[in-house]
Amino acid sequence: MDTRLLVEDFSAWYGQTQAVKNVTLPVYASQVTAIIGPSGCGKSTFIRCLNRLHEVIPGTRTRGRVLLDGQNIYDDKVDPAEIRRRVGMVFQKPNPFPTMSIFDNVAAGLRVHGLPPGTTAEEVVEKSLKMVGLWDEVADRLQDSGVSLSGGQQQRLCIARALAVEPEVLLMDEPCSALDPVSTLKIEELIKGLKEKYTIVIVTHNMHQAARVADYTAFFLNGQLIEYGVTSDIFTNPRDQRTEDYITGRFG
């Protein structure tokens, strides 16, 4: 199996506080990798390091390497903007651009990076919206504001926005935690469908969600990677006592 991302001995800080501690972890191509762990254990911080978004917060720093297809994204020569195109991100709270229409939201990344050769913005927008199953719901109101949609639709719009620039990896930070169960189910189905084309890393504090969607699961505690492996192994046969305590609900 191909390794899309290889995180090597990686640490991240906010000022003096270390939020990620010496994490080493492979992320396999065309697989869904879930990051689980109690709140505050560094899950968000960790995935924000995978697209170099951690560094936009003042006072932060990182150490270690993250190889994307073998290339260290923290190399001095690397342009973070290009990394962020290749590694897309969906956030906890749906955050469509409120001043933009549905169409412009999806096209926003294209305006930055340009269109793929031989395509039009209309084509890319339609394709992206179809991929997230939103096309039929919004095809006749593409010029409406992005914030006129329901929460679940907004989140799928944000996924379409991320997919429009054709990333290789999609990072999702608790993408369903602000959504109702029906919307959550839709997004989970979507994730399963997307993994053929994309490598997905999803943070979730919902263990059942990890069990449902993820091929691999990593358990974090206090900024450390405690255990990593095939999801079914982690849930049925954890090697570490702390993992077992967490998944059996003894803490967290």
Binding site: G109, H113, R161
Partner: protein, 282 residues
């Protein structure tokens, strides 16, 4: 027992409501009487000539303040052209990029400048630009007004940009947009309504400034002939005409006051509408 407490609460609720209403009326009373007084006095002076004619020499009846109306528009326009872009840019710097000592210094300077009496700004511009050019000029007046606008526009811009949720900045950065592009096409656009409102309120604020113009643009009895020449303005005409002993000039001063109030009012209303239309930070 419970009924009694309930009634007491209802009574004190009502009492507070009455007091608040009374305070509101009391606060609106001076404002209302000023507007009413200016309107009644001013309307008597307003006619076609007022808007089209130059002032007549002392003692001659008739004439108007057309040059002062145009002059005020020019001065405020000059101030806006200089003050608004600079203020917005400084506000962007403070909100999006400004950390550390320089930002602290800019912020502090703005706060101090907001409190500085406008006459001081006039003296400073006089001491620099007027003295250097060896004459009073529209440009000096515009600079003085721009300096007064600057901290107002800067701080509103900063406040409005800070209301834009960070999640939007991150969404844009995560798409691979640069920080400048994020600021320009996401943050600034989201805050546009509030920034326009703030800028227009700053315009309304300086439109009536008199003291700084006395040192810089001075006044003129003629049409404006160039930005390097002295220029007429409504506030300065109000000041000079109101302090003469001539009835005719008092009349024109009231007319000028009404026109100025109307200009400020229209600008303020436009500011509110712009804010509502663009939806502020939404």
């Amino acid at each position: 027992m419970i009924a009694g407490r309930d009634q007491r609460r209802k009574f004190s609720n009502k009492l507070m409501l009455v007091l608040a209403a009374a305070a509101t009326v009391l606060a609106l009373l001076p404002l209302g009487s000023i507007l009413l007084y200016v309107a009644t006095k001013g309307l008597l002076a307003l006619n076609w000539d007022f808007f089209t004619q130059l002032p007549k020499p002392v003692g001659e009846p008739g004439g108007g303040l057309a040059n002062a109306i145009v002059g005020t528009l020019i001065l405020v326009g000059l101030a806006s052209v200089m003050g608004i872009p600079l203020g917005i840019m400084t506000g962007i710097y403070l909100a999006e990029f400004g950390r550390g000592r320089l930002a602290w210094l800019v912020r502090f300077t703005c706060d101090v400048m907001t409190g500085i009496p406008s006459i001081i700004v006039g003296i400073v511009v006089y001491g620099t630009i007027v003295v250097a050019m060896k004459r009073f000029s529209a440009i000096a007046g515009g600079v003085a007004l721009a300096i007064i606008m600057l901290p107002l526009v800067t701080r509103t811009t900063e406040e409005m940009l800070k209301l834009v949720p960070n999640s939007l900045r991150e969404a844009s950065l995560a798409l691979g947009a640069s920080q400048w592009r994020t600021t320009y096409s996401i943050v600034l656009r989201s805050a546009m309504g509030g920034i326009i409102t703030g800028s227009l309120l700053a315009v309304a604020r300086v439109a009536g400034e008199t003291a700084p113009l006395l040192f810089t643009a001075l006044s003129s009895r003629y049409w404006h002939t160039g930005l390097d020449q002295r220029i007429a303005s409504l506030p300065v005409y109000i000041y000079t005409y109101a302090t003469t002993p001539y009835e005719e000039m008092h009349r024109l001063a009231w007319g000028a006051a009404l026109v100025l109030v109307a200009m400020v009012l229209v600008t303020s209303i436009a500011a509110r509408l712009a804010g509502r239309r663009a939806g502020g930070g939404r």
